[in-house]
């Protein structure tokens, strides 16, 4: 594709993720409708959390079902620090939120990674629910069921990212960072370790891989980005309450990854875009849209395991096949290896 255009892989990654971020910003020029602008921001925030989560779920094969809890912790730490209890600048609150989420995820990872497969998913599901209960009941920090309101938008000097169009710029920058750091992790020894863990954890451990360390690293990494997404979400919404951080939020991350294509970096991005667009298209049918989404998940899991991105790559491989048999063999192999 673009191999010949750019000299190094990291240059390609930077360009690629910049394009993703730039598209987000450029869409803002096209849409002056505030409603669609909010959709774009929401999609961007979802991407920030989902791309790193894709490493955990797709590359490593550990389906965490509690990311909604980490999103909530990020949002509430920011809320608590900026308005609820303290009055710290949001630029200081965001890093603190990230550190809190990271520490929390790392601490819980010791217990959670005693589990595998189903059990891990259930354990994280329970953790997500536990955090939700905490949001609901720890009134001092979270405001309880009423939540926290008045979370500020970030500012640089006099330039406040108050309007949605300005806020989208910040979100896009973080989408780029989330995509790039995920790519950077997936490309080297960490990526190889994740593949080894997904394929046969015991074998990987027996061959001297420090399995637990890699698992904790990726779990914490995904949680930290989810926390940042939560902080930005709070800033976007201005007010937050526990209903935004239920188990449903966790499921949504899982759905983005599986619909878009697990085990790839771009899959989750496509999943977010697809679900966001779909939500708009089927908004008229009311609650039936969850039915359609549910059916879509079942069908994807049953028959299209590669998800949308897998489908695109398959078509791409077919297109190349017509041009050169040699090239198509390579790309189908690459597709199979995913």
């Amino acid at each position: 594709m673009i191999e010949s255009l750019l000299p190094t892989r990291s240059a390609r990654a930077i360009v690629g993720w910049s394009i993703v971020a730039a598209i987000l910003v450029l869409l803002w020029v096209l849409v002056d409708n505030n409603y669609y602008l909010r959709l774009l921001i929401s999609a961007g925030i979802a991407m920030i959390g989902v791309i790193p989560f894709g490493l955990l779920m797709g590359h490593m094969g550990y389906m965490a079902m509690g990311q909604g809890g980490f999103i909530g912790v990020g949002a509430y730490v920011v809320g608590c620090l900026t308005v609820q209890r303290f009055e710290i600048d949001i630029w200081a609150a965001l890093p603190i939120a990230i550190m809190v989420v990271g520490a929390l995820a790392y601490a819980f990872s010791f217990a959670l990674f005693r589990l595998r497969g189903y059990h891990f998913s259930i354990g994280t599901l329970a953790l997500g629910q536990l955090l939700y209960l905490a949001f609901d009941s720890w009134e001092w920090a979270t405001g309880g069921p009423h939540g926290t309101s008045g979370i500020p938008r970030p500012a640089i000097g006099e330039f406040v990212f108050a309007t949605n169009s300005r806020f989208l710029i910040i979100v896009s920058v973080f989408v780029f960072l989330a995509g790039f750091t995920s790519w950077w992790l997936a490309r080297g020894h960490v990526g190889r370790a994740l593949n080894a863990i997904r394929q046969d954890e015991d074998l990987a451990g027996a061959r001297g891989l420090d399995v637990l360390r890699y698992k904790q690293l990726i779990f914490t990494f995904a949680a930290v980005w989810a926390g940042l997404a939560g902080g930005l979400y709070g800033s976007m919404q201005i007010s937050i309450d526990p209903s935004s951080f239920t188990i449903w939020g966790s499921f949504q991350y899982v759905i983005y990854v599986i619909i878009g294509g697990a085990g790839t970096l771009l899959g989750p991005v496509i999943g977010v875009i697809f679900i966001t667009v779909l939500d708009q298209l089927i908004a008229d049918v009311g609650v039936w849209n969850q039915m359609i989404l549910g059916a879509l998940i079942v069908i994807t899991v049953l028959f299209f395991r590669g998800g949308l991105w897998g489908g695109i790559r398959m078509l791409w491989a077919l297109a190349l096949k017509n041009r050169s048999a040699d090239r198509s063999a390579v790309s189908t192999q690459a597709g199979a290896a995913e």
């Binding site: 589990l115 549910g294 059916a295 079942v298």
Partner: protein, 292 residues
């Protein structure tokens, strides 16, 4: 003291209901190595079927109870044929995901049919009656009825699993699917049977929970979460583990709610789960050394 006895009995009846819900999951996992998240919605739907038959048609509670069991059993078989059969040799996450999709679909179905989040009551036998302990402590007769029903359900379940030919084929499949197939056991029949029983247990749990509390479109989630915790606590795939863990959790929950507060009561299952994960990840009756 009598307040303690009351909470003990309430906890027992709640725990028994949870144990029925969890037994379905445990059976599915034990025989079929599958976790069906849609089980929660079978519980919910079972509650609605019992509601329609008892409150809607005015029939006796036990008719509604039986109807819920049969209908959810059939729903379980349909799930097996349409979804889980295709996913047999897939990674665990695929089965979880597919059942999550089914969970969403069934949830919306119920919401569409019954329309709203209105809580609907089911008439249970002995609703009015109560045993009085001391001055203001009363134990609803309905609680004792549910305890009796669950004991009956578990007796039948025990009989089916350990005393019949069908049960033997199920246990054989649990021990080794390949060997069982070589011995002439038809895997598909066993699968259908297991999904039927599991679905029926879900329906039974739904009818009873609907009777004790109310039927709501979102009533399936809490029992599902509890049931998932219970099967980890009891040891994956262990029926007796599910029963004991269900009881312990139900009683602990009720005692904490009564003596400490409802918010802390909600945390009990998760605290139990965390402690179990740290101390004994394989659960009460799981095999030591074999981390699932």
């Amino acid at each position: 003291m009598s307040a303690f006895a009351q909470q003990l009995i309430y906890g027992t009846s709640y725990g028994m209901n949870l144990a029925v819900a969890a037994a379905g999951l445990a059976l599915l996992f034990g025989v079929y190595r599958v976790i069906n998240l849609a089980h929660g919605q079978l519980i919910m739907f079972g509650g609605y079927i019992a509601y329609v038959v008892t409150t809607g048609l005015g029939l006796h509670f036990f008719v509604g109870f039986a109807a819920a069991m049969v209908a959810m059993g059939v729903a379980g078989v349909i799930l097996e044929i349409s979804v889980f059969r295709i996913l047999q040799r897939r990674p665990a996450t695929d089965q979880l995901l597919a059942s999550l999709g089914v969970y969403m679909m069934i949830g919306i179905l119920a919401l569409r049919i019954w329309g709203d989040f209105e809580a609907r009551p089911i008439n249970m036998p002995g609703e009015e009656g109560a045993i009085l302990l001391g001055e203001d402590i009363r134990i609803d007769f309905a609680r004792i009825v549910t305890i009796a029903i669950t004991i009956a359900v578990f007796a039948v379940l025990y009989f089916v699993v350990y005393r019949t030919h069908l049960g033997r084929t199920m246990r054989a499949t649990a021990q080794g699917p390949e060997t069982a197939t070589l011995m002439g056991i038809r895997k598909r029949e066993v699968a259908a049977l297991v999904f039927f029983i599991a679905g029926a247990l879900g329906g039974a749990a739904g009818a009873m929970l609907g009777g004790l509390f109310n039927v709501r479109p979102d009533m399936g989630f809490q029992p599902l979460l509890m049931a998932l915790i219970i099967i980890i606590f009891g040891g994956m795939g262990s029926l007796i583990g599910a029963i004991i863990a269900g009881l312990v959790l139900g009683i602990l929950y009720n005692l904490t709610v009564f003596y400490v507060g409802s918010k802390l009561g909600d945390l009990v299952p998760f605290a139990v789960l965390l402690i179990i994960l740290m101390v004994r990840p394989q659960g009460l009756f799981g095999l030591p050394g074999r981390r699932a």
